[in-house]
Symmetry: C2
Subunit: 235 residues, 2 copies
Amino acid sequence: MLKPSDNLVDAIYADLRLKLQRSAVSPTDRLVDTEIANAHGISRMPAREALLRLVSEGYLVGTTRGFAVRELSLDDISGLFEVRRQLEPRAAACAARDMTPEIEAEITAAMNRVEQALSQSDIPALLAANVDFRNAWLKAVNNPHMAATISRFIDYFQSVRLGTFADPGAVYQYIDGLSRIHAAFLAHDPLMVQDRMTLFMFAAEEAYLSVRRRQLEEAETARPARRRTRKRGTA
Amino acid sequence: MLKPSDNLVDAIYADLRLKLQRSAVSPTDRLVDTEIANAHGISRMPAREALLRLVSEGYLVGTTRGFAVRELSLDDISGLFEVRRQLEPRAAACAARDMTPEIEAEITAAMNRVEQALSQSDIPALLAANVDFRNAWLKAVNNPHMAATISRFIDYFQSVRLGTFADPGAVYQYIDGLSRIHAAFLAHDPLMVQDRMTLFMFAAEEAYLSVRRRQLEEAETARPARRRTRKRGTA
DNA sequence: TCGATGAAATCAGTATACCGTTTGCGTAGG
DNA sequence: CCTACGCAAACGGTATACTGATTTCATCGA
């Protein structure tokens, strides 16, 4: 289970990051260093350092009882999408311009998996294929800083994504937007990619906002007023 | 020296971050956890965790002998500026739109300090005032994710900034661009701010590239070929 | 005088231990 | 049966100790 690098912290970090990307950690779960540590047969410190790193990057929040995935507020979603809107259309346009045949094949393969998962209503597979699609076109982005920043901002949404896909109408709109982007990539038209990605961003923001709004309402009716998270600086 | 929060890691992190912002750490310096630790009268772990955080954020690189400030390659500079061009003009425009009188006063105060430092050729003060100017308008950016991302990207350049200001021609161009942005802020014209910030970005990129190019040439002639940095994952 | 060899120092990584705080539970009292 | 008090466990934070790798430096030999 622990492959990457020769360093335990990076290994644990990669492992946790992957779990977060796959929404394999629910917001009610609590990640505790000692648990992770003896699950991997190591000491607390590497696990702890990996967790702290995820906290400093904004993926987790520290609570008085273990670490939890960060839940996005509506303002968070709006703010994060504002940044995404500035970056992703442009980056995708660059990708369309600089794409190699290999990467084009990868994008198409990912798109096929998306549609297959959709036809089978296989939500986890849809999730995975969606991540693949994104990673495929990001490979064609020559600017590593741009790619890393985008990657990071997208990953914030993994905790909400499952909910989005649970909404029947949003799924089809989402996939439609994705396939239109895919078509633009195949046409090697950077400007078309840019425009369609822009449209996709707005649609995605709407989808996330409405789903999250529903989530919050449900949570509100379920329990009148209960929540506590200890302050813990991220600087 | 250690104020922020009730947590040693955050305190050390803030301290180091400030030092980096002020270019108080030269690329030849080596930051060692044990040194930092007993300089602050604490144990290794908090110092170490702070250093690792700076590494994961890309400000430092791990070497076999302590941690060092990351030196930007020319490609790094181009890539970082490509991201900044996407974000800062837009963010500054938002700031111009949403600015309060208090923040406007802060921006003006910072601009005055910039010009005063310039007239006295006080490079460290110029550096500090420049950071103040940026932080002042960033306060008017309502989107914390946007502000944090921009802040982060700007901080990457602190290691090169001193060199930029050492170049006689670049300084005046830099300050001129800054004062034009300031004027646009005073006019409360978001579009003018946006345009001037865009121009400023291109000019700044040119300045950094040329200075860094010169730095690299000098380094090359000084020693034929010497450099070693151990790989250390940043994921 | 220069290069090779080995010993010591340096430093990152990891492990273990300790402490203070928070939380949850159980028990006792109303 | 519900509330209040208190104790014990859980957990994050910090400290200290150990290990292995790498580098530096000094001594020895050519």
